[in-house]
Symmetry: C2
Subunit: 391 residues, 2 copies
DNA sequence: TCGATTAACTCAACTAAGTTGAGTATCCCG
DNA sequence: CGGGATACTCAACTTAGTTGAGTTAATCGA
């Protein structure tokens, strides 16, 4: 969101320590349970440095010792793991008609959920309810303010983009504002703002099928279609935070190139159903239709195969991901069927003889609520080194 | 290339200093000429720290003072700029039939060029000639070995990918080797290995139209078609270094989806010309045909408009780049015409009302030889912070 | 069974590097 | 021509990682 490349900043003792804390936490997150000497080797630090950092993190409740493990010779390793209840992150989803909030701990479990209906999602209205929301979340979750790492915010394109789907409209009043700064000020917390697809992608990394992945893509079914891309452990933002607008990419159809979103999105399903006289406004509607294996819905599903296969081939070749994860606001069975139907190309860079693991995965978190994904943005930050501004 | 995320490493005093040196160099590179206090403010360091680092860099000949500049009140700023002759990088291109080498200094000018024909580009043959090539380069360029930053290597897919075009074949014997380590050992230097498109992209950042860009894409016309993507100042590599295989993405045509490369690449031009009985095996052939405005070639050019426009729309929406740069082994005028013909979509995230600068650019370095691009990889590294392994 | 070996970890002294604050030089402004 | 502003230097200080010498606790082998 900021104009300045976060990497373009100098290092000093304090920032190095922050970096090392994050790197250690991230390593423990990936490993599950490790000893200090192992961490030191893996991170290129001295055991002593790791010991100091771990003592600090344990003191703050972020890590906990999980006992000694005897492995061959030598002193048995004292293993450390994340303490899931050691910290929480706030997740906030701003919709045109409501603000949803959640509090999530380090392993991704939600401790609190709230919905606040608004008549208008303009900055003033939304920011006004923030402090109250934060305090209620802390109280309900039963954690002290000192354990609150920050707040993630998911909102539709305040990034000056023009949506293809009319259904995905910008929120009013946010266009020329620095949402990150505004929320940060209102909450007195570090804040990360992203779109729903990016949040969902990160969520799978924190506690989902992409745990341990450094490079993957998440195809997110919201109202439109979004793509959250992680490369080298970081979200791909692009020049203006608008990367991953996969719904707008042209795919071949019998009528020539059409935007992917016009064939593959909840909105397109709704249109398809409406043409057959079936109303399906909510996700629940689609869920029941799918449960009943409604032929019109299955017909829609069938026509997604071709454009989706083309999109997958494009994504694989441009990003070379470890896998593409599918998820979002569609019935889980439907997504599974979708994945099963896709024809994987063997002229893709993903079709290596030595590849491990499937090329397509279904998101583990099921229908991730965007607010939980928002919170995951913050959790992920504490695992991800960033010699950068101290917020 | 390495399996480990370079970011996942701890910081200490030495690595912080390296980081800061790189960050300072990069800042000076972008700014052209700046004072120490300004750098300190921009990088979040103390003036003193920047002074120390600059003294060190000046002592090594990487920076030079360009005089005082009086700007308003206060002590006039002592400005510093890169000293182009302060360091050199080796650039090496490995082709099936030859090894090309160059030595390039900090502003991207080539000081040495050599071509070494080989009967087979297998590892043994190629690595054997490396030390001699390095020494010849140093001698011809008239620089001491201490000024040699490292070597960049460009080679076609040693990354285990399967090319679409038969013309782009893997080099024999490199498939299961760690090219970076092998070259590093042979040359006793830090080495970076990339494909031609990535090298070309970085080259434009070091001394081309992408100077100062943090996020852009380079569409490279080699034998096939490649895409080098830079985001957040770093090359996008993907899980296995194969990101950017834009030639394989499917684009709509009258016959349904076809790989982009089958319509837009030098090879496709050759096929097109061959079908009309015209032989154009070399780049020179295409150059003369273009100079003569050969109708068959122009016909080929015309048919690239539609697929290229679709590809541009895809790239813009997935990467949200500041711009897409076009370049490679095609006549400069032809590339210019190509850019002019492309129909830019306004449903793209690049079509913002507040955008500055053109969406498409022509590479400044003309027909970048891959070897020069290879050297740029190393130059770019010295401008780019990387708390990571010391090579 | 018991000493040798191995490995994890701690303690205390050391070192690298950035920060802080006082002081100096040089310009502009009124 | 004095006061304010800005860049820069010097020297003392602080933070945090490293080094090397122990200590503890396990396995291995004679």
């Amino acid at each position: 969101m900021s104009d300045r490349d976060p990497q373009t900043i100098g290092a000093n003792a304090g920032r190095s320590r922050r970096h090392n804390r994050q790197v250690v936490l991230g390593h423990v997150h990936r490993a599950g349970a490790v000893g200090r000497a192992q961490i030191a080797r893996d991170l290129g630090l001295s055991t002593q440095a790791v010991s100091n950092i771990i003592a600090e993190l344990e003191g703050e409740g972020l890590l906990r010792a999980t006992g000694r493990r005897v492995a061959g010779r030598g002193l048995p390793v004292v293993q450390y793991a994340l303490n899931p209840t050691g910290a929480v992150a706030l997740g906030i989803e701003v919709r045109p008609d409501a603000v949803l909030a959640t509090a999530v701990n380090l392993d991704g479990t939600a401790l609190f959920k709230a919905r606040h209906t608004v008549t208008s999602a303009d900055p003033e209205t939304v920011l006004e309810i923030m402090p109250g929301l934060r305090d209620r979340a802390l109280e309900s979750a039963g954690v002290s303010a000192s354990k609150l790492l920050g707040a993630g915010v998911v909102m539709p394109g305040p990034f000056g983009m023009r949506g293809f789907s009319e259904g995905v409209s910008d929120l009013p009043g946010w266009q020329n504002s620095n949402a990150e700064a505004l929320f940060g000020q209102a909450l007195s917390l570090p804040v990360a703002v992203e779109n729903d697809a990016n949040a969902a992608a990160v969520s799978e990394r924190v506690s989902g099928v992409a745990r341990g992945f450094e490079s993957y893509a998440f195809l997110y079914f919201g109202a439109g279609l979004g793509l959250g891309v992680v490369t080298g452990g970081r979200l791909l933002r692009g020049a203006r935070g608008n990367a991953g607008e996969v719904g707008h990419i042209p795919v071949a159809s019998e009528k020539g190139p059409v935007p992917l979103e016009s064939r593959v999105s909840r909105l397109s399903a709704r249109h398809h159903l409406a043409a057959a006289g079936i109303e399906a406004d909510s996700i629940g509607d689609i869920e029941s239709l799918y449960a009943a294996r409604n032929p019109v819905l299955l017909d829609w599903l069938a026509q997604t195969v071709q454009p989706l296969s083309l999109a997958v081939q494009t994504i694989e070749n441009l990003f070379d991901p470890q896998a593409i994860v599918f998820g979002g606001a569609l019935p889980s069975g439907l997504i599974a069927e979708m994945i099963g139907g896709i024809q994987l190309a063997d002229t893709s860079v993903a079709a290596r003889p030595d590849r491990v693991g499937p090329r397509l995965l279904q998101g583990a978190t099921g229908r991730i609520t965007a607010a939980v994904g928002a919170a995951a943005l913050i959790i992920n930050q504490s695992f991800t080194p960033q010699i950068g501004p101290p917020h």
